[in-house]
Every structure is written in structure tokens, then in C-alpha cells.
């Protein structure tokens, strides 16, 4: 019986993909997942399974944490009395809504370049005997199918686990179903809204701007959207309490904003009826319908204005670059990069980093994270009434440049791992000797050159404006030493010219690397500023940093010295580590 059902289903699927529409739908889903006709986009391609796992992980982890928070024993130990899940879970419900919007939005941003049909699709499909309507609807269906798949995947864990954690052990089945329905509808609608909003923005730009201008501004816009998503995520600590504290009129204004308004959808489904909830729900429905409408209009416009006109536009190729006739760092480069091969590699790395969309995307994501972390610290400083009276910087103030430098250094380091058109690495293979050990110095100089020149003056000046010379000098010196140490740590085993080597190790260990970087983030932006805060209060204490950094650098030096020479040699092909 089961077998027959499976066979019937497979036959139906085969029959569907055997039609031109089904065939195109499958092709377009694949092309969106694998990346468009972008510059080296394929290099970043992950399989569907890996993408779905990555997207599901945040929801799963947060849902598991909810068991600890809402377990009946924990509540009993905390002395919680009457427990109303529909009011007690408002902050967490808001968190899940924002999380689902952020993760789905991030997925949409990642696929930004491959949403709409491009030159490759035009070359391959348009000369075939297929109507334009079929192509139009097949790609639109692919976008909707992926929106549904991503939204479901991002929220699957929380739809199942969050209601179990909250009302699983102390509610009736009807109550459980009511809670689950409200939560599921809110997070799914929020996810789809987020996905549609990103695509609608891409479509708007594509429809309005010439192709070359669109390419120029799209990265900036993606960066801005990423900052908005991360800021939304940061708002989970303030918005729920703000809703309770502010006056009704102010709360109404906040509640009509998309992430908050989706709370109204959940509360309506939970059977809570009051004018405030009604306003929120109406705002959510309006935002959803508006995003859908804009998506449809811009998709149609971009199809007719951009896709169908591809043969009339010359292959745009790389964007023209501004030529700088004067570089203030040029004499410095000659001094710190002794050999001509080093200088050539350094220029290659910096130019690739600043010109490749794929690599800039990675760095932009980290910079966005840095800005949000810095904004969080600034908010804390603003709330501190005695900030200027104390004559000594708080740990929050000191942590800002640490957050910025950590994210930029780690972002660039991650970008180093992602190859950029490996077929072009023959030039380095041909000219650099295999026992060359200059990869690390080059990477180090790139990291420092892209971090310190703007961070040190900014850090010194801002500290000087608010405090005094001594504090500014000490803070800048500690930050500089910390950044140098961080660069040495992240490049400990580095032995390739950035962008020229495949990265199976990075791919297979990405989970561990992510956790390590997360741990490092807290150490670098929380513990280190706290230690500095303690030291700056009594300047002599800052001397403790001297042995601290000296020991750390000596340990790194000793570690590298005991490494075999063959482990320091330049590589262009990294083999995936064996399971045993």
C-alpha cells in the first residue's frame, strides 16, 4: 500500500518535471540555490541539505533553550504562581518572530543575485521553443516555492518545540493546539514577509536602475538591509519591555512596525481580542499584502525591462574601476613588503577583497555585526548618566573598537578561505616556489592594513575627546597590541595565498570554526575590555598587559617553530581531512 503510494507519487513527480513548466521550475529552483551568473558565485555554493541545516539551526537551538526556561520544575523552583502562557511568552514570541525574519532575510540576501533571470538563462532558454509566459511563471513559482521552503525550514523546530516547552506539560490539548497555531502562523507569516521584502527591494532597484548602477548599489543596499535585520535582532532586549512601559499612543506607533505587528497575528490566533492587538494584526496584514504586491509588480517589471532586453545590453563584465594615481601607503608597502612577489601577492589580495562581490558580502555581514554590537554598547553608554562625570571610560565604551576590529579581522580572515576563480591561480602556482613561506606575512599585512589605519586614529581621537591624553594613549596601545595578537592567532596555521586555494577543511569544520569565533568574540569584546577597564582605573595596572601579550605571542611563536616545515609550505589544494 505504502509502496504503491510512493510509486504513484514518484510517477506524478516525473510526469511533472517532464513538462516544460515542471522542467523550468526545477531548473530555476536549482539556479537560485546554486547562485546566479555572478562573479565566482559558484565558489560559495552549498548543497540544499547544508543550506537547510544551517537555516534550521538557530531556531532549533533557541527552542531547546526554552525547555530550560519554561520547564514546570524550573517554574516551581522559581516560585512562579499562576502561569498564563499567552502573556508570559510575549518576549520570546517576539524573539522567535525576529529570529525567523532575520534568518529568512539573510537567506534571501544570500540569494540576491540569483533571484531574477540573467544572461545565462537568456542564452540557454530563450532560443528554445518555449513561451515567455511559461518562463515568467516558472521562475516566479520557483521564488515562491523557495520562500515557502525556507520559511518552513527556519521555523520548523520552533513550531514543534516551543509550544511543547511552554504548554506541553501543563495545558489541555486544545490549549496546546491554540498556542501552536498562533505561534506557527506568526513566525511563518513573518518569514515569508521578510523573504518577499528583500526580493521586492531587489526587484524595485532592478526595475528602476540601469544594470550597471544596480550592480554598483546592490552590495551597499544588501549591507544596509543586513544592518536592519541585525538591529531588529538586537531589539529583542528592549522592544517587549518598551511595549509595556510606553504610553498607549507611543505603543500603537511601535506596534505597526513589521516585526512587532506580527506579534498581533499570534495574539489574535490565541484569541486575545483588544483594539491594540487588532491594530497590530491589521498592520501585519497590510505589510504582508503590500510586500507581496510590490514583489509581483517589480518582478513583472524587471522581467520585461531587464531580462528581455539582455541581448540589447552589452555584456557588462566587471565594473570600471577608478584609478588612484596616489596611494599614501605605497612607500610603506615597499618598506614592509621586501620582495616583489610579496608586493604582487599583496596587491592581488587587497584588490580581490575589495572588488569581488562574493567576498565583500562576507565582510559586509561581519561589518554589519560589528556595527550592531557597537550600537548596543553605545546604547548602554547613553543609558549611563555618569558617563562623563567619572573621567574614566566604562567597559562598554572600551569594548566598541574591540568589537569593530574583531569583526573586521575575522570577516576578512573568513573571506580569505573562499576561493576566487581557482582556474586563475595557475599564475601563482607557476611563479611562486612551493617552499615559499610568505603567505602568512602577506595575509598579516593585509589584515593589519585594512584594520589599523582607520581604527587607531579613530579610537585615539574619540577617547581623547571624552577623556584625557593618558587614557587615549593607553587605550589605543592596548587595542593595537590586541589586534596584532588576534591577527597572529587567526593566521596561526595559514599557508596559502588568499583566494587561490580550495577550502574543504573550512567547509567541513565550519560549525566548529563558527563556535570558536563566537567564543573568541565574547573573550575579545567582553573580557578584554573588562580587564582594560580595571587596568585603566589605575594606569600602573596596564603594565599587566605587557607580560600577558608577551606570553601569548611567545606561545604562538613556539607553536609555529615546532611545526614541521612541510606544514608551513604554500598550498593550492587542500584535502578534506579523513574521518579517521
Amino acid at each position: 500500500m505504502m509502496l504503491n503510494w510512493k510509486i504513484r507519487l514518484r510517477r506524478r513527480r516525473d510526469a511533472f518535471v517532464g513538462t516544460p513548466f515542471g522542467c523550468l521550475l526545477r531548473l530555476f529552483v536549482g539556479r537560485i540555490l546554486h547562485g546566479g551568473d555572478g562573479n565566482g558565485a559558484e565558489e560559495l555554493g552549498l548543497g540544499l541539505g547544508a543550506i537547510l541545516t544551517l537555516l534550521a539551526m538557530p531556531g532549533l537551538l533557541v527552542s531547546l533553550l526554552m525547555f530550560e526556561k519554561y520547564g514546570s520544575l524550573i517554574r516551581l523552583l522559581r516560585g512562579d504562581g499562576i502561569f498564563d502562557p499567552f502573556t508570559a511568552t510575549v518576549p520570546d514570541e517576539y524573539f522567535f518572530i525576529v529570529l525567523s525574519m532575520t534568518v529568512t532575510g539573510a537567506a534571501a540576501l544570500w540569494q540576491w543575485d540569483s533571484i531574477f533571470l540573467d544572461r545565462r538563462d537568456h542564452t540557454n532558454i530563450i532560443p528554445l521553443p518555449i513561451s515567455l509566459h511559461t518562463i515568467f511563471f516558472a521562475n516566479f513559482s520557483a521564488i515562491l516555492a523557495l520562500a515557502a521552503l525556507f520559511s518552513f525550514d527556519v521555523n520548523a523546530a520552533s513550531i514543534v518545540l516551543f509550544p511543547v516547552a511552554v504548554v506541553g506539560s501543563n495545558g489541555s490539548f486544545a490549549r496546546f493546539c491554540q498556542f501552536t497555531t498562533g505561534h506557527a502562523v506568526a513566525v511563518l507569516v513573518a518569514s515569508v514577509f521578510s523573504f518577499m521584502s528583500v526580493f521586492a527591494m531587489a526587484g524595485c532597484l532592478m526595475a528602476v536602475l540601469p544594470a550597471s548602477v544596480f550592480r554598483r548599489v546592490s552590495l551597499l543596499l544588501r549591507f544596509a538591509i543586513a544592518v536592519v535585520f541585525l538591529s531588529m535582532l538586537a531589539s529583542v532586549f528592549t522592544v517587549p519591555s518598551l511595549l509595556q512601559r510606553t504610553s498607549v499612543a507611543s505603543a500603537h506607533r511601535i506596534a505597526t512596525l513589521p516585526p512587532v505587528s506580527f506579534l498581533g497575528v499570534a495574539r489574535t490566533a490565541w484569541g486575545i481580542r483588544d483594539p491594540f492587538v487588532t491594530t497590530m494584526t491589521k498592520a501585519a496584514i497590510f505589510a504582508f499584502v503590500l510586500a507581496a504586491l510590490i514583489l509581483v509588480i517589480t518582478y513583472t517589471l524587471s522581467f520585461s525591462r531587464t531580462f528581455l532586453r539582455i541581448p540589447e545590453t552589452a555584456d557588462s563584465g566587471p565594473l570600471p574601476r577608478t584609478r588612484f594615481s596616489f596611494s599614501p601607503l605605497a612607500p610603506l608597502h615597499k618598506a614592509i613588503l621586501g620582495q616583489s612577489s610579496q608586493r604582487a601577492c599583496y596587491h592581488f589580495v587587497v584588490r580581490t577583497l575589495l572588488r569581488s562581490d562574493a567576498h565583500l558580502q562576507v565582510i559586509s555581514a561581519f561589518v554589519a555585526l560589528a556595527l550592531v554590537a557597537a550600537a548596543e554598547a553605545l546604547t548602554s553608554i547613553r543609558a549611563d548618566q555618569f558617563f562623563l562625570v567619572r573621567h574614566m571610560p566604562s567597559a562598554d565604551f572600551l569594548s566598541i573598537p574591540f568589537s569593530l576590529s574583531y569583526c573586521v579581522i575575522v570577516g576578512i580572515r573568513c573571506a580569505f578561505e573562499i576561493p576566487s576563480d581557482l582556474r586563475a591561480n595557475w599564475i601563482f602556482r607557476l611563479w611562486l616556489p612551493p617552499d615559499d613561506q610568505h603567505a602568512r606575512p602577506i595575509a598579516r599585512r593585509v589584515l593589519l592594513a585594512l584594520t589599523l589605519p582607520w581604527l587607531i586614529p579613530a579610537c585615539f581621537l574619540v577617547t581623547l575627546i571624552f577623556f584625557n591624553w593618558a587614557t587615549a594613549l593607553l587605550h589605543t596601545a592596548i587595542l593595537t597590541a590586541s589586534d596584532i595578537l588576534l591577527v597572529e592567532i587567526v593566521l596561526l596555521k595559514f599557508r596559502k595565498i588568499p583566494f587561490t586555494c580550495s577550502y574543504p577543511t573550512f567547509e567541513s569544520h565550519s560549525g566548529v570554526i563558527l563556535i570558536a569565533y563566537l567564543f573568541g568574540f565574547f573573550l575579545f569584546t567582553d573580557d578584554l575590555p573588562a580587564l582594560e577597564h580595571w587596568a585603566v582605573s589605575e594606569p600602573l595596572r596596564t603594565l599587566c598587559f605587557v607580560p600577558l601579550f608577551a606570553i601569548a605571542l611567545a606561545s604562538l611563536y613556539a607553536y609555529r617553530k615546532q611545526m614541521l616545515d612541510m606544514d608551513k609550505h604554500l598550498i593550492f589544494e587542500e584535502t578534506s581531512p579523513s574521518a579517521f
Binding site: V17, P20, R31, G45, P127, P129
Partner: protein
Amino acid sequence: MLEANRLSKSYGSVPAVQNVSFYLEPGQVLGYLGPNGSGKSTTVKMLTGLLQPTDGQVTHNGKDIHNNLTAYRKRLGYVPEEANLYPYLTGEEYLDMVGILRAMPDPRRKSRIDSLLQLFALAPHRHISLGSYSKGMRQRILLISALIDNPDVLIFDEPMSGLDVTSSLVLKNLIQKLSARGKAIFFCSHVLEVVEKICSQLIILRRGQVIAYGRTAEVLQSIGQSTLEATFLQLTEGRDVAQIANDIVEVVVA
């Protein structure tokens, strides 16, 4: 069968192709030559219906191709200039997709794909993704996709790009055999020896305008040259290529 009637195309105020006319009969191979930027690709795009001409029209069996593009494309096989394929599809998957989109019935599609992959020496690589294919292999996939549905009109835009010696020889013979079977072939290439050998008709283009059109032997005779290379250089290049080569060597060894 396929006729271009006073075809013109301008991009803004820049004319790319001006008043190009020709008639391509079944069994004819028309060679289309011209330096870079002379308007060859624009003509090809108009012949395949990818571009609307600013003026003039392309007719297939007496009907404007834009009246029923889908029906025209059903009878058209096209090898584009650049093998820009989907790198994550395998060779077989790509051809299967082309077959489905051409509405070929299942058994015929599968048997054609099997046979053509064998004949083009791609059968061992059929399950490998196109991203791993060499340039020549991708070009062979494009040739198969153009031939798979037995089209009446074939448009080849630089089909020999990246092909190895054997594949090039196969293609040369294939074009001759296809024309013998009544296919109308439009052959756009920079390989003058091949054009001279296989094309029954010839068009030479310069700055968007036809500067020579006729049977290959007649064109050579009218210019007074014995080879197509000499004819082409005389018609399109004002510079002495030997002198340019000499200048380059001087710069290199200086």
C-alpha cells in the same frame, strides 16, 4: 527558407547592422565573416529572434519569425558564441532539459541523447557536472543540444571554439553532411580555412554593412585573390598584419 530582408539594428543612435539581406536555401551553408564589432553577433541575435530588428525583417518559409517565434524556434538549432551553461547540471541533465523544453517525446529524447553522447565521445562524462567540463566538452554539449531535435535551420556562432582537432574535423564533415540532407546552415566563424572549405555562400561584413555577398568562388574571383584569407584582409583590414607582428617583436625584445 530563411530570408533576411534589409535587416538593420541600432543601439541608440549607433548603427550595429545596416541593410543586411540574404537568402538561405535548404542545403546551403552560408559563411558569415567580419572583424570584431562588425555586427555578426547582432545579426545572429536577430536571426534567432532574440533581438527585434530596428528595420527590416527575418522570414522563415515566407513568414515573419516574430509572428510565431515558438514555431520557428522549434525548427531552429542554435549554437551560441559562448558556452555559458549551468555548471551544476550534468551533461545528460542539460540535454534532457533541452529535449523536454523542445517538447520531444520521452523515448525519442532519451535515445537521441544516448546516441549523440556516444558519437560526440561524451558518454563517459554524461554524469559529470558541466562545471567540470573543458571548453571543448561544453562546446560539444551545445552542438548536441542544437542537433537533438532534427532542426531545419542551423545557426552556428563560432562553433569550433575550444574543439580539439578530431572534434573540429568531425564538425566540418558534419556540416557538409547536414547540408547534403537539406539543412540550411548559417555559419559564423573566424576560422577562414574552414569557411572557405565548407561554405557554399559567403557574406563579409564591415562596420555593420555587407561588403561582399555571393557564392564563395565568385567572391574570391571578384576581389582577385586566390584565398579567402587574402580576400578578407583586403576587404576588412587597412593595416599590414606582417608589419604589426614585426612591431610587436620589436617591443618584446627591446
